[in-house]
């Protein structure tokens, strides 16, 4: 045999006595276990008919009457094994409901000797049939769930008739070396039959022995001892077998995963009408807890004979969870059969369920559901830059170059995110809340697959890559962005891996395919540029960086041609020039331990293998995190999104499948820990965003509005306000219009004359120098002054002694004053308000002029005239519109057109594959 020498002399003395087996007829003792309610005589008769000589037949059971002559009755197996003479080489264990063919033992002994196996099992055929297979050795998953690979009722056509190593053989008929049997303490009496076979097989393997199945040894099994397909005793036994066998480091991740798998299995089985799974899992865990002391004792015994690591067990295991695979397959089978009975689709579904990546994706989607649960239940919070989309037509008109009404207005372009969000609102028939939630979910789901694809392009694909998707979406960089309420950047993380993957990979095989690649890259580049404009350059830089690694296939030309689609975000970035390096930064505080953990993980993975992919992941992660300290928020968003994708790749690299050395195992553990730490982002169920701050709480601003009015929001911390804010005397402030905070208002354009006037008015009010602050604010259209609770000390004293702003006591946690002297944003000289229409205003035609409380801009019409910092238009036409097409709008159109053209090209080019 091939047993590895052990330091334990007590054990090795027995284990090493294997030399003479090939030269003589091996001595065998047959041990038949009585099955309750089954007459063992047929089994004993079959044993007696064996071609191979049997030294002695033992019957294990409690009944002592009626024992045939020549059969020795024993109470338990341990007693039998302990009493065997050292001349006995093998013990043949048989169940009392088994009927071996006459040559079964001979085949077992012959093959065990030939392959130097320590444990050999028979091929089991279902009793009462001539050729229905029950078992030809089994594999298990990591949780010990058996996997025979046989279909129900599969006929034996000798298709499995080859002696091979297996994870375990059934205890119905197994041949075990006596010395090993004695050294290992025999069969665990606490376990049910199948679990007992699994347990013994694993212990044999850990002790360095081989476990084989001998198909030429055929045994009919009446299955009266149980089929081993369930029952909480079998389940708890399997769990105990794994708890005994694995090293502590494996148990660290196996036990939680087993727990989670049990929950998922129970829940999914409910859909199949099986309610017993849950209680069975509970019983199994409870049984193992109750028997923990004996399990620990057994582990101690195993550790004395351990010759190999867990990887030797993993070699004979299937990936993923057998239970989940089965239940998933059954679910999809039932569903698909409703439409397509036994078709190719159904068979394809079964294949899909057999992939471990499928389970990784399902697992990550389960995490997504957890991480987005509050989004589905109560919608996205309104906080920071996570703001409602607003009216689709208004948003889209602003996106394509209409008036930017944020703050006191500007001709500067709005954030390009208003484009896709406006379209999303249109697609949901104007239900912006549904659009927000759906877009968020789609982006997160896209992120999971995107990281998977990008990792595959970098050679580190597989189930770990999909788990990396969870790390990307909820890990450290994403949590930094989420903490700052940067919703658009979180969505960009979902699309960014696709954009990066579009510039890496095999070259096109033809012109049409190349155009398809360019189109896809252009569309994805434009898409990410819409959410985070600074990311528009990321695919091109990524392609350059990939080329520098010298290994991966970089589509540099594709990236170059596709990058102009990023023009959609360029006008916005140009208008924010001063904020690219300055402004209110995203708080990037990261716990050094977490950063250190990620660093150690990626470095270990790089040392072990995949150094290039690891380098890409590391540079993206840490480069993004480090560089984000030097830039303003618009660039920070891009860098942190890249870091998030990098973190996803770190996990993918660490969890990459394949042979592992010590470093790789350590990297794997690091990857798992990074993944677990990243899951902290699931806690709130809001995609990592803070709780709602400006949603329902500020809904009163829409009440009783006559025309368009504004609210002046005040907070001591700029991060406490929705979107951008401006510094005021002792606090930060910003204006929103009476629709409430919306995404198109999030970014404030550069200060205009009106902003300066507003700053002066606020200073005047806060200094207590005016008795009528409402009058001061009325020219800006401000009806509401809303401060967070912390600002009551700052603005309270000044606003206690004034006569035209009433306190509004119905806003929870806010200090609110209502201006009794308000004048709407668009109002005629006689005080008639005009209503908003798109990015303009409409009202009854009048000979009066209509004042627009926006920063002065001659693009307004008809007949715009300046009035101080604001302006007025003629009321004759009954509408006030902004008609100025600048180069910024042209660039946005161009970028949008290129992106949409790219989408079309991408679809067209893909069809050739």
């Amino acid at each position: 045999m091939t047993a590895v020498p052990s330091d334990n002399t007590e054990v090795t003395e027995d284990l090493d006595a294997d030399v003479p087996r090939r030269t003589h007829t091996s001595t065998v003792v047959a041990v038949v276990s009585v099955v309750a309610g089954v007459d063992p005589q047929p089994t004993l008769d079959a044993v007696a008919r064996q071609d191979h000589p049997i030294e002695e037949i033992r019957l294990i059971g409690s009944e002592t009457e009626g024992v045939p002559s020549g059969v020795v009755m024993s109470q338990d197996l341990a007693e039998v094994v302990a009493g065997l003479d050292s001349s006995v080489e093998y013990v043949w264990l048989l169940h009392g409901d088994a009927r071996p063919r006459p040559d079964a033992l001979k085949a077992l002994v012959t093959e065990a000797n030939r392959f130097e196996a320590s444990l050999a099992g028979s091929k089991l055929l279902v009793g009462g049939t001539s050729d229905t297979l029950e078992s030809v050795g089994s594999a298990t998953d990591v949780f010990g769930e058996p996997y025979t690979g046989l279909d129900e009722g599969e006929v034996d056509l000798e298709q499995y008739d080859v002696v091979r190593d297996v994870a375990f053989v059934s205890s119905v008929s197994m041949l075990v070396r006596r010395d090993l049997m004695r050294g290992l303490g025999g069969i665990d009496q606490k376990l049910a039959p199948v679990a007992a076979g699994l347990d013994l097989s694993q212990r044999v393997r850990i002790a360095g022995g081989r476990v084989i199945v001998v198909p030429s040894s055929e045994v009919f099994h009446d299955r009266r001892c149980g089929r081993g397909d369930g029952g909480w005793r079998e389940q708890s036994g399997r769990m105990r077998a794994m708890l005994k066998a694995y090293t502590p480091i494996t148990l660290v991740w196996m036990v939680p995963l087993a727990f989670l798998t049990g929950i998922a299995d129970s829940l999914m089985s409910l859909l199949l009408g099986r309610w017993r799974l849950g209680p069975r899992y509970v019983l199994a865990w409870a049984w193992n807890l109750a028997n923990l002391p004996s399990t620990i004792a057994a582990r101690r015994n195993i550790s004395r004979v351990r010759q190999v690591g867990d990887e030797e067990l993993f070699r004979y295991q299937v990936r993923g969870s057998v239970r989940l695979r089965l239940v998933g397959s059954e679910l999809s089978d039932r569903l698909l059969r409703m439409f397509d009975d036994d078709s190719a689709v159904t068979r394809r579904a079964v294949e899909i369920w057999s992939s471990s990546s499928t389970w990784a994706i399902l697992g990550v989607f389960f995490l997504l559901l957890v991480g987005l649960r509050a989004v589905f239940l109560s919608g996205l919070p309104v906080v920071g830059y996570a703001l409602p989309f607003g009216d689709a037509s208004t948003a889209l008109s602003r996106f394509v170059g209409g008036w930017n009404a944020s703050g006191l207005g500007s001709a500067a372009p709005v954030h390009p995110v208003t484009g896709p969000t406006g379209i999303a609102t249109l697609l949901t028939f104007g239900n912006e809340e549904v659009a927000r939630s759906l877009l968020t979910f789609v982006a997160f789901a896209s992120g999971v697959f995107g990281i998977g694809r990008l990792a595959r392009r970098l050679g580190v694909g597989g189930p770990g890559a999909y788990l990396g998707g969870a790390a990307a979406l909820f890990g450290l960089p994403a949590s930094i962005l989420g903490g700052g309420g940067r919703w658009a950047a979180l969505v960009a993380i979902g699309f960014l891996p696709w954009a990066l993957a579009s510039v890496v990979g095999p070259a096109a095989t033809g012109r049409r395919q190349w155009l398809g690649q360019v189109g896809s890259a252009a569309f994805l580049t434009g898409l990410v540029a819409c959410f985070v404009p600074a990311l528009g350059i990321a695919p091109l830089l990524f392609a350059l960086a990939i080329r520098a690694t010298g290994r991966f296939r970089s589509r540099l030309l594709v990236a170059l041609v596709a990058t102009p689609a990023a023009l959609v975000g360029v006008p916005y970035l140009v208008s924010r020039g001063d904020l690219l390096l300055d402004g209110v930064p995203i708080r990037t505080a990261a716990h050094p331990v977490v950063v250190g953990l990620i660093a150690v993980t990626v470095i270990l993975a790089m040392i072990a293998r995949s150094w290039r992919a690891g380098a890409v992941a590391g540079v993206l992660t840490f480069g993004g995190l480090a560089a984000s300290r030097f830039f303003g928020p618009d660039v920070q968003e891009a860098l942190l999104a890249l870091a998030a994708v990098g973190l996803g790749l770190v996990v993918a690299v660490a969890l990459r499948r394949g042979e592992r050395n010590v470093m790789a195992w350590a990297g794997l553990v690091g990857g798992v820990v990074v993944l677990i730490v990243s899951l902290a982002g699931l806690a709130g169920g809001r995609a990592g965003l803070p709780p709602d701050a400006w949603g329902d709480r500020i809904s009163f601003v829409t009440l009783g509005a006559t025309g368009v009015e504004r609210a002046l929001l005040i907070a001591p911390d700029p991060h406490g306000l929705p979107g951008d804010s401006r510094p005021g005397p002792g606090f930060w402030y910003r204006l929103i219009d009476s629709r409430g905070p919306t995404l198109d208002q999030a970014a404030l354009p550069a200060r205009g004359e009106g902003d300066e006037a507003l700053a002066a008015a606020i200073d005047l009010i806060v200094s207590g120098a005016t008795l009528r602050p409402g009058a001061e604010l009325s020219e800006f259209g401000v009806r509401w002054l809303v401060g967070t609770a912390e600002t009551s000390e700052l603005i309270g004293p000044a606003l206690q002694a004034q006569v035209d702003m009433n306190t509004f006591p119905f806003a929870e946690g806010l200090v609110v004053f209502e201006n009794t002297a308000v004048r709407p944003v668009a109002v005629t000289e006689s005080g008639v308000p005009w209503e908003a229409s798109g990015s303009g205003f409409v009202g009854e035609p009048t000979e009066e002029r209509v004042r627009l409380a926006f920063n002065a801009d001659p693009g307004w019409g008809p007949d715009w005239q300046p009035e101080g910092w604001a302006g007025s238009v003629s009321g004759r036409d009954g509408e006030a519109v902004y008609r100025k097409i600048g180069v910024e709008a042209v660039l946005v159109w161009l970028g949008t057109a290129l992106s949409l053209l790219g989408l079309g090209l991408g679809i067209w080019g893909r069809r050739t594959r």
Partner: protein, 423 residues
């Protein structure tokens, strides 16, 4: 290449740990608080008594707004003379029994005083109020006396106040004086003589919990009335102390805080300065009444120095006379005396607390000089001012403290001058 990649990743990881977070921007420094852009006359009445508001240095667009029961029934411009003087008789613009008035202020703010006539005579300053406790001194709820506190809230938000009263029996505890809600643009009258009857000497502090009120009080002794505005407690008080014939004078001190206040009284009499002529301790939220005759014979001045904030006033009482003249916290070279002379011939009391002689010029409200007097150091001097509809001003070449009193057939009245801050 592999080593270089490892080093690069490690270096970036270290950088992302050690690099400092971006600098958090800070908001602009808080705005310096401006002088209140308004003043409030809480004691205006238009039915039972005649109330005149006297203005000195008023702007040309001065308006007054009478507020009551949540409304502003009267808001009208004031006819201001070219020299900035004006007088508004409330009976002429409203018939409301209680007619508190809000006066928006310009720069510099006008001096505005409330002059009450009817059942006696009294004068009290119009004030912007304060979020700090406003102390009303020198009242009485003895039999035959009425003492009414007016809580005026001309603002847009409601206010909630507590009244902490103290009398000769000590700190008063009365639930009815706690949590008084004063609605916006309203005045609440609290009759202390009904709630705490029989107190010979009572004072009170109006403590604001929420919002802002302007407090004032009228004490009717049956023969005369006195009116007081809310004083904000301080550590140093100057009180010129005339000695009108036949009237008794007493010094009333009140400590509104939660700590006792040790104090000393320096007396500036005919014989010079006697420092610490009197020392004592005021229990927390209590008052002390000191007969002035015990420490100062004849006219002079006193200065009160305390360890914790107190409010101080002189109460004059006697046959047909009842007045409370508040102390002055800070000497100044410029004073407005808008009510002096409105009730008849009056006396301006000028106290020079410094150690250098000061020359003061008394002017009419128009700015025309009336008289010029040298005030020796640490001395109080009386300067008569004839009857007039609107008082006058006083300019000095050093810091002085100024009050005025009027003795007429209607009664005895007086008030502190209104200092004009430099610039």
């Amino acid at each position: 290449m592999r080593i270089a990649a490892l080093i690069a990743v490690a270096a970036l990881a270290v950088a992302s740990i050690v690099l400092p977070a971006p600098r958090e921007p800070v908001p602009l420094p808080p705005s310096p608080q401006s002088a209140a852009p308004y003043t409030v006359c809480p004691l205006g009445e238009a039915a039972r008594r005649t109330t005149a508001l006297t203005f000195v240095q008023a702007g040309p667009e001065t308006t007054v707004a009478v507020f009551s029961a949540g409304e502003v029934p009267v808001e009208q411009a004031v006819e201001v003379s070219e020299s900035g003087t004006a007088a508004v008789v409330l009976d002429d613009i409203t018939g409301l029994a209680r007619a508190p008035v809000l006066v928006p202020q310009g720069t510099p703010p006008a001096a505005v005083e409330t002059i009450l006539q009817g059942g006696g005579a009294a004068a009290a300053p119009c004030q912007p109020g304060s979020p700090d406790p406003q102390v009303l001194l020198g009242g009485s709820t003895a039999e035959g006396h009425t003492y009414t506190i007016s809580l005026a809230n001309p603002f847009a938000g409601s206010a909630t106040v507590d009244i902490a009263a103290a009398s000769e029996v000590g700190v008063e505890s009365e639930p009815a004086l706690a949590g008084i809600v004063v609605p916006p643009r309203s005045v609440i009258a609290v009759d202390l003589h009904s709630i705490l009857p029989g107190r010979q000497a009572i004072s009170a502090a109006v403590v604001t919990r929420q919002g802002r009120v302007v407090a004032g009080a009228v004490h009717d002794s049956g023969a005369d009335i006195s009116a007081t505005g809310g004083l904000v407690a301080g550590l140093d008080w100057y009180l010129p102390a005339p000695a009108p014939e036949g009237l008794s004078r007493s010094l009333v001190l009140f400590a509104p805080g939660t700590s006792e206040a040790a104090f000393q009284i320096d007396v500036y009499g005919p014989d010079g300065v006697v420092e610490a002529a009197y020392e004592d301790v005021i229990p927390a939220q209590s008052q002390v009444t000191i007969p002035l005759g015990d420490i100062l014979e004849g006219p002079g001045a006193i200065r009160v120095l305390s360890a914790n904030p107190v409010a101080a006033a002189l109460r004059f009482s006697g046959e047909g006379a009842n007045a409370v003249v508040p102390g002055v916290a800070t000497p100044s070279p410029s004073w407005r005396l808008s009510g002096a002379g409105r009730l008849g011939d009056s006396v301006v009391h000028v106290f020079n607390p410094g150690d250098v002689e000061v020359t003061v010029e008394l002017q009419a409200g128009t700015g025309d000089p009336l008289t010029s007097v040298a005030v020796p150091p640490e001395t109080a001097v009386d300067i008569p001012i004839s009857a007039r509809s609107i008082g006058g001003k006083l300019e000095a070449d050093g810091d002085v403290v100024v009050t005025w009193t009027t003795a007429s057939e209607e009664g005895f009245a007086g008030d502190a001058g209104d200092p004009l801050a430099p610039g």
